[in-house]
Structure formats: structure tokens, C-alpha cells
């Protein structure tokens, strides 16, 4: 294992310390661990808080700042953060407008964020959980933990973060987040595995001439393994998996303030069709260079154009990674006026920065 690390047990803390030094707009807390803005926000602003296992940087800590997240809670590498982190973090940044957790759909993350939401709600700090489950590589939710939360998370954090700055209340922010989730779809491929520092060896085995289609951001297996092929062919497979994905209906747990408990909510993602306008992201899983991502974007645009789907905004780069994995993911989020308005709003974070 060749990595830029000192002691394995210090990896997360040292990376957080580095972020704080590099970005004076951010503040870190180490017991328990969270990253938040240095400046207090307007009274009554909804707090947008996310988090998850480390190893996906810049997500989530790199998206803390004006126009995006208020705070992020990093767990150990590929391991969910614990409820005391979200609880302490939310209490530190909460500002009278309530708290919205944006949670990627993984068993551990869901449970830890739910426990934190229970603790906060029981203390009268209104807290809602919205899940992201956009990975079309997982076909059904009946016999699995459901679709995983991947690329749409980045888009959602941007859009909902902007809405909260514009004065949306907790309910409105939650509705918008749910809408973005229902309109987002992603799929990834791995050319190589990745190495978790504590494990010291690749997370899964893959032959030199094989690729994993539909890989998750922790190296979870996807739909199939095929022989390595061209950028065009890979882009074709990923894009078609997203565009051919049918309507997807699932039940997601959300906090019900009236009964002070969890309630399952049905969410339907309608399939994409011609005429749709998309925010597109071509994302590196860590070790794939940006240059290769542009080859993918070129083909993605071509396939979408043929189907009369237009890519009206884009991100090309490393935004949600899987440590040092080679590979990429494609995310498409069907935009509307509200989504584009908040997408175009100014953002100032280490990982995403535009407008004023």
C-alpha cells in the first residue's frame, strides 16, 4: 500500500486539521468530529447537515460553506458517523429554523442519522431526514437494502443548500430535497479496486482486464463484470442503464412530527424521457484523471442528444470518490425551473465555488 498517510489511526483527524488550516471559513470539532462554517448564519435559517463515511472527499466536508452545507459529520473510512456527532453538530449550528439531514441510503448511515434525529426531535429541535437512493445498479428494494445513495447527493446538497439560504423553511427544504432525489439517477463503473488504509489491501479483487459495471462508492458489487473496453462503450452502458431505468417506487422512512415517530413515505422516480433537461455529472471515483472524464462526457452528450435529452448544466471532476479507485460515475438529475434557479445560485465551498 502506497499512500500519503502518517499513522492509520490519525488519518481522519489529520485530514480534518488540514481542511481547517486550508479553509479559514471552516471550523472543525474533534470530540465528536464535525466540520462546520466559521460564521453564524441568519437567524431562522434551516440547517443543512450531511455526513457519512470518509473516503469520498470532497463530499461531504468539502461542500460545507455558504450556499451549500452548514456542516458535515465524517465517519471512519467507509463507516457511518455516530449519532453523537450529528447530535452535537446540529446543536452547535442550529439556528432556530430546524435541521435537515441529507442521508445516503446505506444501512449504517440511515440508522445513525435516525437515532440522531430522534434525540434532536425529543429535545424540541425540529429535525427531518431525507434519503438519497439513486444508484440504478441496484434493481429492486424488496430483497435488498434498496438503492444506494451516490452522485445525486452532490447535486442535492447544492440545490437544497441554496434554497435554505434563500429562506425556504424546513418543510420546503425537505420537499425540495425529496424532489431532487426522485429526479436523480446514477451509475458507476470500476476499473480497479480501492484500498481502505486500515485494511491495507484492495477492497475487492478484479483482474487487470476486467471492469465492474454498476459498482458502489465503497466497491460494492454492481450488475456484472465484463472485459475492459473503450470509453465510448463504457459510457454507452452507463448512460443507457440510467435512461432505460423504469419508474422506480420505494418506501423511505421520514420523521413524522405529529406522531413523533418514523413513517414510511412512498416516493416514485419517473423514468427519463425525450425533452428532459438535465444537470449532468461525470465524476471520478478517485484515481481516474479529469481528461478521461471529458471523453466520457463527450459520448454522454452525444447519446443524450440522440434521445433529445439536453444537458443544461454539468459538473466534470472528482466530487464523490471511493478513495483511490479508478473508474467513474454518471449522474443525471432532471431539472426544472426551481432546481436550476438554486443550482445557479452562488456557492462558496472548498469543493464547489461559483457566483457571488
Amino acid at each position: 500500500m502506497k499512500k500519503l498517510i502518517n499513522k492509520i489511526e490519525d488519518v481522519i483527524v489529520e485530514q480534518m486539521q488540514g481542511m481547517a488550516v486550508a479553509h479559514p471559513d471552516l471550523r472543525i470539532n474533534l470530540e465528536p468530529k464535525y466540520i462546520c462554517r466559521n460564521k453564524a448564519t441568519k437567524k431562522g435559517k434551516v440547517v443543512i447537515l450531511s455526513g457519512g463515511g470518509s473516503g469520498h472527499e470532497p463530499m461531504h466536508g468539502g461542500f460545507v460553506g455558504v450556499g451549500m452545507l452548514d456542516a458535515a459529520c465524517p465517519g471512519e473510512v467507509f463507516t457511518s458517523p455516530t449519532p453523537d456527532q450529528m447530535y452535537e453538530c446540529a446543536k452547535a449550528v442550529e439556528n432556530g429554523g430546524g435541521v435537515l439531514f441529507l442521508v445516503k441510503n446505506y444501512t449504517g448511515d440511515v440508522m445513525n442519522f435516525e437515532m440522531a434525529a430522534e434525540m434532536l426531535n425529543s429535545e424540541g429541535i425540529e429535525t427531518q431526514n431525507i434519503l438519497i437512493d439513486d444508484d440504478v445498479a441496484v434493481k429492486d428494494s424488496l430483497y435488498t437494502a434498496g438503492r444506494r445513495g451516490v452522485g445525486t447527493t452532490v447535486i442535492m446538497e447544492k440545490i437544497v443548500g441554496a434554497a435554505s439560504e434563500a429562506g425556504y423553511n424546513l418543510n420546503e427544504c425537505a420537499n425540495l430535497a425529496r424532489k431532487v432525489n426522485s429526479r436523480g439517477r446514477s451509475m458507476g463503473i470500476a476499473l480497479t479496486s480501492c484500498i481502505v488504509p486500515a485494511a491495507g489491501k484492495p477492497n475487492f479483487d478484479i483482474d487487470e482486464d476486467e471492469i465492474e459495471i454498476g459498482v458502489g462508492i465503497h466497491g460494492e458489487p454492481g450488475r456484472k463484470r465484463i472485459a475492459h473496453t473503450t470509453a465510448d462503450e463504457i459510457t454507452f452502458i452507463l448512460t443507457n442503464a440510467i435512461l432505460d431505468d423504469e419508474d422506480y417506487t420505494r418506501q423511505l422512512n421520514e420523521w413524522d412530527a405529529e406522531s413523533s415517530g418514523w413513517k414510511e413515505k412512498t416516493l416514485v422516480s419517473e423514468s427519463f424521457k425525450s425533452g428532459d433537461k438535465m444537470i449532468a455529472m461525470v465524476n471520478s471515483l478517485g484515481s481516474t484523471p479529469v481528461s478521461e472524464l471529458y471523453s466520457v462526457y463527450r459520448k454522454l452528450d452525444e447519446i443524450c442528444a440522440e434521445k433529445e435529452i439536453s444537458l443544461v448544466r454539468n459538473l466534470v471532476g472528482a466530487y464523490i470518490t471511493a478513495l483511490d479507485m479508478q473508474g467513474c460515475s454518471i449522474t443525471l438529475v432532471r431539472a426544472d425551473e426551481e432546481i436550476l434557479k438554486f443550482w445557479d445560485s452562488p456557492v462558496n465551498t472548498p469543493g464547489l465555488r461559483w457566483g457571488k
Binding site: F78, G108, A145, A199, G216, P221
Partner: protein, 211 residues
């Protein structure tokens, strides 16, 4: 022996911590086959925190506060899915033990019953899903049977460990329906579940602490 006291329960936690340390690589190996290869590290980290707090835990005024403190410690240090699940097991067990400083067989069964129900609600898993419930559910059933058959605590614990082992081994042939292993579908068959294994190790540590 008619009851279990705080000293024995603290010994149980200490044994569990040592067993997690010994089995760190084994649990991680099981988890890397069908999960995300962190179960051993996470369980060791969580129970190490319990170990650090052993003096404080020994001084608990009753078993409810012992279990509550243990549960909170595990929740805030294990992470992943196991943190909330093992934490909930202890927290929910503590709820039915108000002011108790000793457990008879009925208390033990009642508190584990409540704890395991909490785990089921949190993780939405049922028996046969290839999870820790495949160990914990039969454990509660076994304690309940032993109570009805008026067995001694020692006999009850012997039976309990046997069904726990059987439950753990039963997960090998199952298809995972929860957690990260569920993405493998049928490819998860043939692998023993890591969470069921750590549950078995904890159950076995209880018997060892008390005999």
C-alpha cells in the same frame, strides 16, 4: 446460583471486549467476503471504549445504568450499522431493569427480549435475513423455554449458547436481505454473516463470565 450480579455482568463486557480483540481479523475477513470489511475494526473500537470505562461501569448503581452507559458507549464508538444495533440492544435491555442490582432468569430473558425487539425495529430485520437476529432471536426463545422448564441459570446459559451457535451457522446457507451483503443476492450464499458471528461471540462471553 439463582441470580447474576453487576460484577458478573461487567466481567461479561470485559470478556466480550477481549473476544472482539482476538477475533478482529476473523470478523473483518467474514465481512470482506460479503460486506465492507470493517466489522472487526468497528467492534474492537467500540468494545475498547467499554474496556476503558470498566471502572466507571463497575461502579454503576444498578444494572439499568450499567447497560445504558454500555449502550451509549457502543453507539458513539462503533459506527456503521453495528453501532446503533448493539447500542440499541443494551439501551432497550436497560429500560426494563429499573433499580435492579441482580438478574434472575426471568429478568435476563425480559431484558434481552426487549433489547432484541429494539434491534429488530431499528434494523427492520427478521429471522432468516442473514443478520445478527438469526442468533439473537433464538437466544431469547431459548431463555423463554428454559424459564418455562424451570431450568437453572447455568443450564439455561448452556442451552442459550448452543442455539446461538446453531443460529450463527445457519446464516451460511441464507441469502442476505439486509445491509451491504444484500446487494450480492445469491452470491451471499456460502458465507457466514459477520454480525451473527459477533453476536454469537457476545452471547458466548456471557456464559463464560457467569460460570
Amino acid at each position: 446460583m439463582k441470580t447474576i450480579n453487576i460484577t458478573q455482568l461487567v466481567k461479561w463486557l470485559e470478556n466480550s471486549a477481549l473476544v472482539m480483540r482476538e477475533n478482529k481479523d476473523y470478523l473483518t475477513k467474514l465481512d470482506s467476503d460479503i460486506g465492507d470489511a470493517d466489522h472487526g475494526f468497528n467492534m474492537e473500537r467500540g468494545f475498547n471504549k467499554v474496556l476503558e470505562k470498566l471502572d466507571e461501569l463497575s461502579a454503576s448503581k444498578d444494572i439499568a445504568s450499567l447497560f445504558k452507559n454500555t449502550g451509549m458507549t457502543l453507539i458513539s464508538s462503533i459506527g456503521g450499522a453495528s453501532g446503533p444495533l448493539y447500542g440499541t440492544l443494551f439501551l432497550q435491555a436497560s429500560i426494563v431493569l429499573k433499580d435492579k442490582t441482580e438478574l434472575n432468569l426471568r429478568d435476563l430473558k425480559d431484558c434481552l427480549d426487549n433489547g432484541v425487539n429494539g434491534v429488530k425495529l431499528r434494523g427492520k430485520a427478521s429471522i432468516g435475513d442473514k443478520t445478527m437476529i438469526d442468533v439473537l432471536d433464538p437466544v431469547v426463545q431459548s431463555l423463554s423455554d428454559s424459564l418455562n422448564a424451570e431450568l437453572s441459570i447455568s443450564e439455561a446459559l448452556t442451552d442459550m449458547v448452543q442455539v446461538a451457535e446453531k443460529g450463527m451457522k445457519s446464516t451460511t446457507d441464507l441469502i442476505a436481505k439486509k445491509g451491504r451483503a444484500s446487494y450480492l443476492g445469491e452470491r451471499s450464499i456460502g458465507h457466514q454473516d459477520a454480525g451473527a458471528t459477533s453476536s454469537y461471540l457476545i452471547v458466548k462471553s456471557l456464559k463464560k463470565a457467569i460460570n
